[in-house]
Symmetry: C2
Subunit: 222 residues, 2 copies
């Protein structure tokens, strides 16, 4: 019985995700689903992307959180449309929640929507939101063994952002081991090393984002 409940929930979600996807395609908008643990730096990665691409891309953000509006206020302070979804108790966004958020955005005026999912490495990976691409952030402070423990999310993404790279000398994070495990799980994802705090790697991140939003990812150096 439990499994069927889950199957039904996922099937309903998948059909709503397909609706979101065709709706966005008809407006020429690229939507990306950004996932990570609590505190890995999702909002900082987004604010850095806004600073680095606002001359090229018209961007909006959908913020998913259990509670609070901290993140959407930070985005709105940058004059970027931000829709806050508070999930109540739910540990992931669903396609229905995202559909309601899309109702509040002027899709014709946008190139790119970044969804900041709820801070969680587990359930968000199971729910298609209708996005064109998926990203996960791994924070150096979390240790290099996270892909071992949360394989699904690392397997399913188009890009892996290794954030807080400035903490490398203060944490037990083996970058070589991390790359090896990630490559076994996901041979094709872009892996971008970043420090949002110190500004390292931001150009590469913004380049990837622009190429993805404009459908020219094949032109990126591999």
């Amino acid at each position: 019985l439990k499994i069927e409940v889950k199957k039904n929930i996922l099937a309903t979600n998948a059909s709503m995700a397909a609706e979101n996807r065709s709706r966005l395609e008809s407006h020429g908008v690229c939507m990306l689903n950004l996932m990570a643990s609590p505190g890995a730096g999702k909002t900082s990665v987004i604010t850095r992307a806004i600073e680095g691409t606002r001359d090229r891309l018209k961007l909006a953000v959908i913020e998913g959180d259990i509670a609070s509006e901290i993140d959407s206020l930070a985005i709105e302070a940058m004059d970027i449309p931000a829709i806050q979804i508070n999930t109540g108790g739910s540990c992931h966004l669903t396609a229905v929640m995202v559909a309601s958020a899309l109702d509040h955005l002027d899709l014709e005026a946008l190139d790119l929507i970044i969804i900041e999912n709820v801070g969680n490495l587990v359930c968000p990976a199971e729910f298609d939101l209708g996005e064109a691409g998926r990203l996960v952030i791994a924070s150096v402070a979390e240790g290099h063994d996270k892909p071992h423990k949360y394989p699904l999310i690392f397997r399913e993404v188009d890009a892996i952002l290794v954030n807080k790279i400035d903490l490398l000398s203060y944490c037990d994070f083996n970058l070589t081991q991390f790359h090896q495990v990630v490559r076994r799980l996901n041979p094709t994802a872009a892996v971008i090393e970043l420090s949002c705090r110190e500004g390292y790697g931001i150009d590469e991140w913004c380049q990837w984002l622009t190429a993805t939003a404009t459908g020219r990812r094949s032109e990126l150096p591999s």
Copy 2:
């Protein structure tokens, strides 16, 4: 309908949790449920506890993970009984999973069981496992706003461990603001600052653990 499914799951879980609780009480074993984000330092907090209390307490560990046995192997290497639960896809432990783990432990020989829950600040807080007390770890690298965003888990615990305090000068973590928010959510929890990496705060952590496991927490300095 959705809500009823959840109600039924939680009701079934609650009755199994009550069974676990009375089973442990009859053997005089204290069980604690340790929760945190991925990479906040749950396993390090446990290995530090083992080193610091093994002359006083007979300890066992139940390890919850989506996948991998990394953590239970680390505990077994210290000659401490460790039961690994791999949840498959599930983002939290349930009382039924813990009951099966208890079947594999010699309860009469133990004082304390620490459960390392799946790395997640959301769902684990909703599932009673039959524990006598709950703990959450906040990592300095995650930022001080986590209690705002995940209020339930901070509200429900008996102790909050602020780990990676050695990273304080390299991260934007305001300790005063963190304490203020935590106190509003939870006026009675012990708040213990730790660096498992550098050994700071370990005495206080082991003192709290010993007092809790032996039922003498009222004797602790407040």
